[in-house]
Structure formats: structure tokens, C-alpha cells
Symmetry: C2
Subunit: 348 residues, 2 copies
Amino acid sequence: MKSEKPNLSAIAHTLGVSVATVSNALSGKGRVSTELAERIRDTARSLGYVPSVAGRALRTGRTGVLGLVLPDIANPLFPQIAQAIEQAASSAGYGVLIGDSRGAVEQQTQAILRLIDRGVDGIIVIPRRGTRISDIGCPVAVIDTPATPGNTVASDHWGGGEEMGRHLRELGHERVLILGGSPLSNVQSDRIGGLRAGLGSSVRAEVLWLEQHAETHGADAPLGLAAMVKDGVTAFAGLSDLTAVRALTELQAAGIAVPEAASVTGFDDLIWSSVITPSLTTLRMDMAEIARQAVQALVAVIAGLPQGRVTALGTVVADSNSVPMMLMLRQSSGPRAVDNRNVEGDEA
Amino acid sequence: MKSEKPNLSAIAHTLGVSVATVSNALSGKGRVSTELAERIRDTARSLGYVPSVAGRALRTGRTGVLGLVLPDIANPLFPQIAQAIEQAASSAGYGVLIGDSRGAVEQQTQAILRLIDRGVDGIIVIPRRGTRISDIGCPVAVIDTPATPGNTVASDHWGGGEEMGRHLRELGHERVLILGGSPLSNVQSDRIGGLRAGLGSSVRAEVLWLEQHAETHGADAPLGLAAMVKDGVTAFAGLSDLTAVRALTELQAAGIAVPEAASVTGFDDLIWSSVITPSLTTLRMDMAEIARQAVQALVAVIAGLPQGRVTALGTVVADSNSVPMMLMLRQSSGPRAVDNRNVEGDEA
DNA sequence: CTGAAAGCGCTTACAG
DNA sequence: CTGAAAGCGCTTACAG
């Protein structure tokens, strides 16, 4: 027979005790006799008691909500990130309020400010390119590259790139074209550095920056990949799956067989990379782990815990922790050195 | 010289007036002399006053936060939706808390309940397939199909499908394969109905359900589209861009030229459809408009306004409002009837 | 036009 | 171990 939203005083009333005692029992902090505490919990449950976030927030100054600020919600990687963060936050007892830095850099500041005004306890920021998140007057955790200063969690983009580079080298590729978006991206720089290291000095690797290409040739202009194949390039390493799929379809449309004549690889394991033909070898970030660490790092700051130390709850993340990426080997990784060589001649 | 978070009483203090007056002046509701009101606003601004959401929420019972529940955050359409909702909510003065119905249907209920417990003023739900959002004890707006009962906003999927069907018919296609995911999806049913209507009775159209195909042949099994082209199919209408890209790459990998030998079209205008070669003709939902209407409809319910009526703020959304889709004509729409016929013969 | 007061639901010292 | 009281910041009748 539970009526409208029961509150602490309703529970106190039905049991003939004080609200203070109810509060103490429910929070488990105050010292309440185990017997009474149990009765209180039972009543709370049967009454369908849900603590008022507003009341608690007003009193404690905490809202139990984290902000998530992304460079651009429209980014195809956003679903993976948001899902992981939502999950991690949720199991840490936090809600997630979204913010969008879309467009200009000031938008990022605006988004952060709006979230702070909304009373979030802390913010997880994936910074816009070329942006550094300094002191924003609110606990913050950043997801970027391991080199990023501050309370940062990151994928090991460099290590991932290295793995991919090694993979391509072992397949026998000797000329690789790396397809990047913007040289301003820390993430992409790391991936390129890793790729180059993994490929080694014997493999020739160049970078084609799509942003630059778009400026000179127009956004929709073909990348001229077929000519590069003719020129001896046997592998195209996209710095994201989006780029990789673009390359793949351009090659296919030009009649170049993938992976027989040219390999195409990507990054991020977006859903697309697995449904296309041939599917893409790609590197997946461990978003669940990154999100978990980011939330943990943020919660540690909120709680005022010293960072970078082991606590009862596990290791509190210190500056620049990096999470390994996972190579998703798919068919498209393709050509053994020999096959590739053979077919390449035919096709070109 | 502004110190820690100023509150109403800080403003009242500096001006030697009461907090009630400050509150009234700032909210614009109470009758305060214009002159004093102005001074109050000035002081508030110079002090950097930001109202406490917790205090206000506790008093008014409103948090100024909307919940957004999605069937699966990992869905590639999520970015578009989330961005539009965030934008619309933000300009209506609301924050957006995300919820994820990922996985089972009960998750949807769980997500909704969690959001309610967090004190959201209302929830925007994009229901899982085969789910109906009934009375959830909290204002709600649904984004689904126009036929969905309740406080619903929707894209005109049927109309969009019809437009696409007409487009394909006018290009001269006589056999079309529709690529769907699941027959349980209302959205997809609408799109198919529209497609069929637009194609007319002279065009032969069949549906391949990918979910079914995956069950019988395995998730990664090729769809055998090349054989269908040989069989006379000249157009593949994906019910989503994801499906369309899958079809496109499968065709290309089989050596079938798109759009010369077969057309591929999609739905949703995901970013991928514009970067691939050839780019995809697709139908874009007017997410901004849908989001605006959904937020407006939800706010109307929250405010207790009668629905389906014209108010000072514009038309309050009634049951089942539908927003037109926009055809994005791209190169891939391709073959005129004649060209298509010609090439088809060659390729098959 | 302005102000004093009550109260939203909670937690936290402080008494008892 | 339990309770009375204060107060977080706000808004809203109600007086004046």
C-alpha cells in the first residue's frame, strides 16, 4: 500500500523512530543496532523508498552525476565511448550527463562550464585536437594519449600502431601508405609513430593527410590510391576505420582486389569494419577498461584521495596510464608476402 | 573579487535586500521594481552567480534534466540522435542524462527506472524493437514510427521509403532487393511499405532479412548478392547505410561495378555513406527537427500543458507527428535505365 | 513593491 | 544506540 514517493520521514514515522536513525541505518555509517537497522532497511524496501537526489545533493554538495564532454558527439567512435563510460559510471553509482564540444574550441569550454553549472561532481573530457585541459575548477579525468599530462587515461596508441606495423611487415609489405586525418591529432601522431616503429626501417611508409588532401582537392576528391598501387604500395593503413573503409571502397571501385592486390587496415574496430567485404583487420581500444579507469581516476579525485597510489579499492590511476589495444585479425589483413607480390603484378 | 560559489543570500547581503526579492527579481516572476530588479541582476552577474540546481530541485521538485534511453548506445545512428537531443534539450534549458537499454528488453525498463530514480523530469525513449512504452510514471516522449501510440515523434519512414522507391523506379530498375535487418522493427516495416509503394506494382521487390540470414548461414556469411545480379537484380536497397555498405563492398569484391551494374542505396545518411566510393544515395532523417519536437512534446507534458494544441510557444506535438525525410542524392544512385541495362549484361 | 518564514529531503555534528 | 536540531539553497504563499 505504498503511496506517493516515500521519504526518510515516512519510514521514520511507520517505525516510530527518528529520521536521523533511518538515515544512519540506510547509509550504514552511523551506529545503529543491527536489529533496528535491518527493520529499517526492510521497511524502506517495502515502501519502495528511493533517496531524493536533490535533498542529498543539497546537503552533501554532491550530485552523483559525472559529465562527459566529447569533441564531437557525431564522431563514429562516440557510441563505443559513451556506452563504456555509461556502464562504468553506472556501476560506480554515477549518472552521466552529456556535453558536446562540437565545432569551435570555445564550445569545449562552454560545454564544461554548462556541466559544472549543472552541478556535476566531475567531468571526463576527451579533448579536442590541440587542446589541453587545464584546471577547470572541478575534478576532471582526461582520455587522450599516454603523453597527455594530468589525470589521464589512454589507449596505448603507439603500441597499437607498432603491433599493426609489425603485422604488416611480417606479411611482407615493403611500401605502406598511412592514411591520416589531421597532423594535429595526438592520437594519430602516436599511431603513426608506432606504425613506423613496427614497420621498421626496411619498409617505406608515407602519410597522406586527408584533411590536407580535402583542402587542395576538395572533400570528395578521390585519393588516387589505384595509382599508388601501380606505384608499388601494397598496404594502406588507415588511422581509423572510417578512413580505411574509404580506401577500401576506392580501391575496389577501381578494380583493385583487396586483399589480394592490396591490404587495407584500420583502427578502432567500428562496427563497419566487421560487416564489410573483405572485413578489416583493425585495432580495438579496450574501451571498457579505459572507461573503468577514467571513472575510477575521476572518483578518486572527487573523493580527495591521493592519486597514483594503491588503495583498498585498487590502484588509483596516476598520470598517464595506458591501456593496450587489441588487434582484431580479419581476412583483409590478407596477402602473405608471396601471394601479394604475385597478384599485385597482375592487377596493377 | 568574487569568492566561492555565491548564492542568493550573498546577493541579498551585498544589496541589503531579502533573498525573496532577489529570487523574484532573478526569476522575473515576482513583482519587483524594475530599477531594483536591474541592480539585482547586475550584482548577480558581477558576482558570477549560478543558481544551485540542487536547491531549486529540492524546492520545485524539478531537476531540469531529461533522460535519453536508447535501444543500444552502440548503434551507429546514436551519434546523430544524441547530438540532436543534446542540442534541443540544451536550448530548452535541460541537461541530458543517458541511459542504455543494451541487451535484453528488461534493460530498457531498468534504464528508465534508474533515470527516474535520478530525478529526471522526463524521458525520451527510443524503444527497443517490439517494445511499447506505456505509462512509466514519469513524463515521456517516444521516438519511433508515426503509428506508435502515445506522445510520439517520428520520421516519416514510410514516406521516405516511398521516395526512394520512386527514385529507383524512375531510374528504370525492375528488380530490387531490399536488405533488412529484422522484421520486428517498426521502422524497417514502414520503410519497406513505402519502398514497395514507391516502386509500384511493375517492379519486383523482395526482402532479404539479414538477421535470418545470419541465423541460417552464420553472421559473416556472404549474402550471395553477385548471384542475384546475375539473376537480374539491378538495385539493392539497404534499410540502413550499414547494410548498404555491406552490400556495396560485397558486390565490389565480387567484381561487380557499382553503380554501373547495380545500384546500392541506404537509409540514415551515416557519415560512412558519403566517404565511400561510390558514395551512397540515402535518406536522412531530420534529427534536429525530430529532437526539437520530442523535447518540446516532453516539456509540454512536464509543464502539464494540454497536448496537440497550439500554444503561444508553437504547436504542441500531438500523437504521432511525423517529420519528412530528406533524400541525399549521390553518385551511387547511378545508372539510368539504359546504361544499367547495358552494363548489367556485360558484368553478369 | 518588499520581506519574514516555512519547507522541499537529506546528512551531520552534537546531546542524551 | 538513538534523537532533536540545524542547515544546504531555493521558491512560494502570505503579510506588510
